[in-house]
Each structure stands twice: as structure tokens, then as C-alpha cells.
Amino acid sequence: MSERKPKVVGFCCEKHGIDSAILAARSGRQYDASVRIIKVPCTGRVDGIHILQALEDGADSVFVLGCLEKNCHYDTGSIEGRKRVEYVKSTLADLGIEKERVEMFNASSTMAWKFPEIVSKMVDVARRLGPIGKAGGDR
């Protein structure tokens, strides 16, 4: 299993979320290629369905990245986003699926360090837990 590449999906808002990723890249920070950025206008657009379907389609972990809650481009979008994530987490926990596979993060466009940190955390989770439905990660 050590050959297996983890699969991480990151729903990033087109405002601060994606900007923080771009700033990270432009400041020369590297992160694991496993992450699949899916741009959404705002994390308030994210529906629990998107997260669950991503897991269904083979994601080992999924994160949602939005603006800082007090400085959201769409005022309350990242607060909404967090609520959706929390609902999915509780649903997963209830099903006996590790809820740490799904996380919400917030960043501002100036936080270059944050995106690689998030990716590394979620890649870690993906490696540790492996795919849903097959035993073991790549330990």
C-alpha cells in the first residue's frame, strides 16, 4: 500500500481561500500534489452533499477553506460553510466513519503559510486513515 497516493479534495472559496493558496505558491511554498482544489464562489455555496460525494468518489479526506469568519467576503459565507462541515462531520461520526476526514479551515489572503499547513494536515489524515472501505492506510 505504500505506493498509494492519497486523495484530498479542498473546496476553496474564490476569495480569501484561493488567494491564500496562490500566495503560498507564489511565496515558494511546496505542498503535496495530492490535493485537488475545487473552487467555489464562497464556502457558503458548499453543500454537505458535495463533501459526501467527494468521499464517495474516492477522496480520503476533504477540507473546506473559506475566509476568516470575521472578514468573509460574503459577510457570513464562511460561517455557513463551517456549519455545513460540522453537519457532515456529525453524520460521518454517526456512521462510524472517521470525522477527521472532513475539516473546515479559514484563512485570509495574506496567510501564505496556512494553505501548505492545511494540505499537510489533510494529507496526513488521508495517509493515516487510507481509503474508506479498504482496511489500512499506507503505514
Partner: protein, 525 residues
């Protein structure tokens, strides 16, 4: 008609051809069905190249385009404009940011980067096939009126600047007094309510005994504020504590503060007796820098739960830190304390070091700004959100600090207090300028990426109406939700929350998101 796609890749940035096998990438893309043109160009921003690619697009009757380059806002807008002229809908041009999302972050991982880039291109092509051409529309603003609530320093400045932009300004002033400013001043008047949206508001205003309707295109909230009485335990223990602005004033007159200066965010860290609207972030930094410059050997402590220094303020923060201003972050649960028996020392648990610090106090100032009681009425009338602390909530930094989350409504003054006159004027100027520019556009541009309701699915549950920060959804005459597209900002919160899945956000539908996710997950990298 079947889709006809042009794939356009740019190799301008040096890393791209170094890391990626561009020919392979182009092959992957051009082999896809419906791709009728694929071009790998040296620099997609070059006007000559733009001319060439768009000419080819025209010739091949292309109706949608995949641009493999960097982010849309970095690409020469001339490209999109040229496509538009060539009859390609602007929402049918999809930009894939290979540079920032694949190349730069994966420089050392050539193989995976290639696979990722290819998958992204495929996902982009699939997405293109799911896109619908969208149109933007314009609504003419009925007036050039900018209504300014409050005729204080900030409000007057806003009026002056907005007028200079060409707007008609009307100051609504609750007191009877009036100052000399351009435009109209309505004394003894207050705002009761507002209908419409940014560009075409109809305000209801109580002027004296009469209630009048007033059309306007933009509103500037410039109500005043004031310092709260200092009554928290810290202020009680340290009798000569002052609000920050007082310290500021003292320094303007050349006074030198006594001993080490401690600036605390709130006079009552427990937050029980005072509704705090905001903190004087920038002034604290400014003042701390001044103090340090004046007396480099005297300590200056900034004891805040958090220090917000956005944008250029970050430089001020850096300057302050370099000058030796000590920033101490604390947790609300373990706020600073002063023992009344020994009121020359402040103890606080530093959140970063987790140790309790004892700080000698010479001068104590508080940087909290209490909530203005007028805010509630104004926020309710304009349907703009408030902060939990009772302030008028500002738009995000990206949306500019003098904006509110509601387009066409700007803010200075109230939330600006206790800035110095200069700062109040500066904010008034900014708000006035933004309002003036907004009004002088003369039209409200709307449409494009907005929410769309499938009414047959709508349960009229009001969830979107309650959730939307822009008041865009409303229950229409059919008893189902409709979207005021002039107000819609395209965030998609309604689409994300609708329990009946009756709302979709154009360009970001569930199907599009799901398909893109699936394709990206299908890639082997």
C-alpha cells in the same frame, strides 16, 4: 449545436515549460472530443497573440475556451474582451490556474504535476461542456443621490468628496445644527426605512414631523459615536486611566505620558458592563509608535485579546514591533487584572508564552469603542448586518473597509470613532469617494453568476430569505422564491442551504461541482 472548444495554453512563466511537458498536455486536451482548436502560445497576454488566437477561434466557430495559464485576474483582460467581440460568451471562457495551483507548489514533483495538470485540463473541458452562456444586464439608476446619515466630521467630508465626483449629496442630520457642505442638509431628520437595493434605494425619512420618501443610489452611514464611561474593574483600580483618544489629545498638546504606557483593548475585559463595538486598532499602533519614538527607553505595552492589523496596518505593526512595542495577547477567560491595593502593576497571562506577566503601569489607556445606540435603528432601516457587539458590520477587507456587506451602503464615522479628526476625515473621504464613484456609474450591473430558482421545487420555506446576507431572495407573487438579481452577489449561500434544492448558482451548480470533483479524483497523481 455541438460545443466547439478552443484550448489555449500559455508558456510565459519560466517554470511552466520546465516542469511540464506542454506537448503532452496539449495532446491530452486536443484529443478530447469537441476541441476544434488548440494553441500553445508564448504569452497569452501579448496583444498580438490575442489577435491571433481569437482570429483562429472565430475561424473555427469556437463557442467556448479553456485557458491554461494563471488566474483570470492576472491574464490581460483584452483576451476576454477580444473573445467577447468574437462572439464567445464571457462566462464560457474557463481559466485554469496551472501556474499557482500546479506548477509553483509542485516544482519538485514533475511526474505528479504533469498528471495533475492533465487532469485539471480534462476537468476544465468537462466543465466547459456544462456551462451555459450567461448575460449581464444593466439597470439605470434613477438618481445620482448619495444620502449621508450624520453631518459630523466624517459625514461632511464624505459629502464633499461624493459631490466632487458629481453626486448629489443629502445629509440627514438628527440635530438641528447644520454645517456648510455641498448639497442638501435635512436637519432634525432620521432614517426610518429603506426599500430597493444599491443603485436604486427608496428611503423613508422622518423630517421634523413629516415622513418623506427619498430616492437615492447610495447611502453613507456616518453617524457619530462616543467613549463609554470607564467603569470596569481595571479603570476602578487605576484611577487615572483614560480612553485612548484622550491620551492622543494629550500628546498632541505636547504632554509626555508618565512612566510605562499600557494600552488595553477594553476597560472591562470581562465584557459584562459594556457593549463594545470595535477597538481602535490602527490608532493603538499609531500611538504606540509615536510613544516609542518620543521616549525610546520607556516601555509601551499593547495588551489585546487579538491585534488586527490588516493591509497597510501590517507595516505599522511591523514598525511598532521593531521599535520595541510589546504586544501581549491574552485570553478572554484570563484577562488582565490590577490589584487595587497595588495599582501600579497589571498582571496578565500571556497567551503565547502561557506565563503570567506583571507589567508596571505609568499610564493606562483603553482602546475600546462602545456601540453607538443609533446603529440598531440604521441597521434595521437599511437591513444591513450588525456585529454582535452592536456596531455596523463592515464588508470584508477585500470588499474595502468603508463598505458594508450591502452594496451601495458605505460606512464611516460611527465605526470610525474614536479616530482623530484626520482619520475620521480620511474615512469620510474614502466612503464619499466610493459612494460617489458608485453613483456616477449610473447603472447597476447585474446578472452573470447569480442564483436561479426552480420554482416547481421551491417549498417557500424561507430558509434562503433568512440566510442571504444581501436580501436577494424574496417570496414572489406566486408564493415561491424569486431572486432580486440586482441584489444577488453570487455567493451561492442560498443554493448551499436550500432544503429542496430549488436554487442553483449559475456557473457553480451541484452537477458542475460534482463532476469536477469526480474528474479530479479520477486523476492518478
Amino acid at each position: 449545436m455541438k460545443a466547439r472548444i478552443q484550448v489555449l495554453a500559455c508558456k510565459a512563466c519560466t517554470e511552466m515549460p520546465q516542469l511540464l511537458d506542454m506537448d503532452d498536455l496539449m495532446n491530452v486536451a486536443s484529443e478530447r472530443e469537441l476541441v476544434v482548436s488548440s494553441m500553445l502560445v508564448d504569452r497569452v497576454c501579448d496583444p498580438k497573440i490575442i489577435k491571433r488566437v481569437v482570429a483562429e477561434a472565430s475561424e473555427r466557430d469556437v463557442d467556448r475556451v479553456l485557458v491554461l495559464a494563471c488566474q483570470k485576474k492576472d491574464v490581460n483582460p483584452g483576451l476576454l474582451a477580444a473573445y467577447k467581440r468574437a462572439g464567445v460568451n464571457e462566462f464560457m471562457v474557463e481559466y485554469i490556474n496551472l501556474r499557482d495551483e500546479v506548477i509553483l507548489p509542485h516544482i519538485s514533483d514533475k511526474e505528479r504535476a504533469q498528471a495533475k495538470a492533465e487532469t485539471k485540463a480534462v476537468a476544465g473541458l468537462e466543465r466547459l461542456l456544462m456551462l451555459q452562456p450567461l448575460e449581464k444586464a444593466e439597470e439605470v439608476m434613477r438618481t445620482k443621490n448619495v444620502v449621508i446619515l450624520g453631518g459630523g466630521v466624517a459625514g461632511r467630508k464624505a459629502a464633499e468628496v461624493a459631490a466632487a465626483e458629481g453626486a448629489h449629496t443629502i445629509i440627514i442630520e438628527k440635530s438641528g445644527s447644520s454645517h456648510k457642505t455641498p448639497g442638501v442638509i435635512m436637519p432634525n431628520s432620521t432614517l426610518l426605512g429603506a426599500k430597493g437595493y444599491g443603485g436604486n434605494f427608496v428611503l423613508s425619512i422622518k423630517a421634523g414631523e413629516k415622513v418623506e420618501e427619498l430616492e437615492c443610489a447610495a447611502v453613507v452611514v456616518a453617524t457619530g459615536g462616543g467613549w463609554a464611561e470607564l467603569k470596569g474593574p481595571l479603570a476602578k483600580a487605576f484611577k487615572s486611566a483614560v480612553p485612548l483618544y484622550r491620551l492622543h489629545e494629550q500628546m498632541q498638546t505636547g504632554a509626555v505620558p508618565k512612566g510605562p504606557v499600557v494600552i488595553v483593548d477594553s476597560p472591562d475585559p470581562a465584557g459584562k458592563t459594556l457593549a463594545v463595538q470595535d477597538f481602535a486598532w490602527d490608532d493603538t499602533l499609531e500611538l504606540a509608535i509615536d510613544l516609542k519614538k518620543q521616549q525610546p527607553l520607556e516601555e509601551v505595552y499593547v495588551v489585546f485579546q487579538e491585534m488586527r492589523a490588516f493591509g497597510l496596518s501590517e507595516l505599522a505593526y511591523k514598525d511598532a514591533a521593531e521599535l520595541g512595542v510589546r504586544f501581549i495577547r491574552y485570553d478572554r477567560a484570563a484577562g488582565p487584572k490590577i490589584d487595587p491595593k497595588e495599582p501600579t502593576k497589571l498582571t496578565v497571562k500571556d497567551l503565547a508564552q502561557a506565563e503570567v506577566l506583571t507589567i508596571p503601569i505609568g499610564t493606562l489607556a483603553f482602546a475600546a469603542i462602545p456601540a453607538n445606540k443609533d446603529n440598531i435603528g440604521i441597521a434595521t432601516a437599511l437591513r444591513i448586518p450588525m456585529s454582535p457587539e452592536g456596531g455596523v458590520r463592515r464588508g470584508s477587507i477585500q470588499r474595502w473597509p468603508v463598505s458594508t456587506p450591502r452594496p451601495g451602503v458605505f460606512v464611516c464615522g460611527s465605526a470610525m470613532f474614536p479616530k482623530s479628526k484626520d482619520m475620521a476625515e480620511a474615512e469620510g473621504e474614502a466612503a464619499g469617494l466610493m459612494a460617489g464613484k458608485f453613483v456616477m456609474k449610473g447603472v447597476i450591473e447585474y446578472g452573470g453568476v447569480v442564483a436561479e430558482v426552480a420554482q416547481e421545487k421551491c417549498s417557500a420555506c424561507l430558509t434562503c430569505v433568512r440566510t442571504c446576507p444581501y436580501d436577494a431572495p424574496y417570496i414572489g407573487s406566486a408564493g415561491k422564491v424569486e431572486i432580486r438579481i440586482q441584489a444577488c452577489q453570487g455567493c451561492g449561500m442560498c443554493a448551499g442551504i436550500c432544503p429542496s434544492k430549488a436554487i442553483e448558482l449559475r456557473g457553480s451548480t451541484d452537477d458542475q461541482i460534482a463532476q469536477e470533483t469526480r474528474t479530479m479524483l479520477g486523476g492518478d497523481f
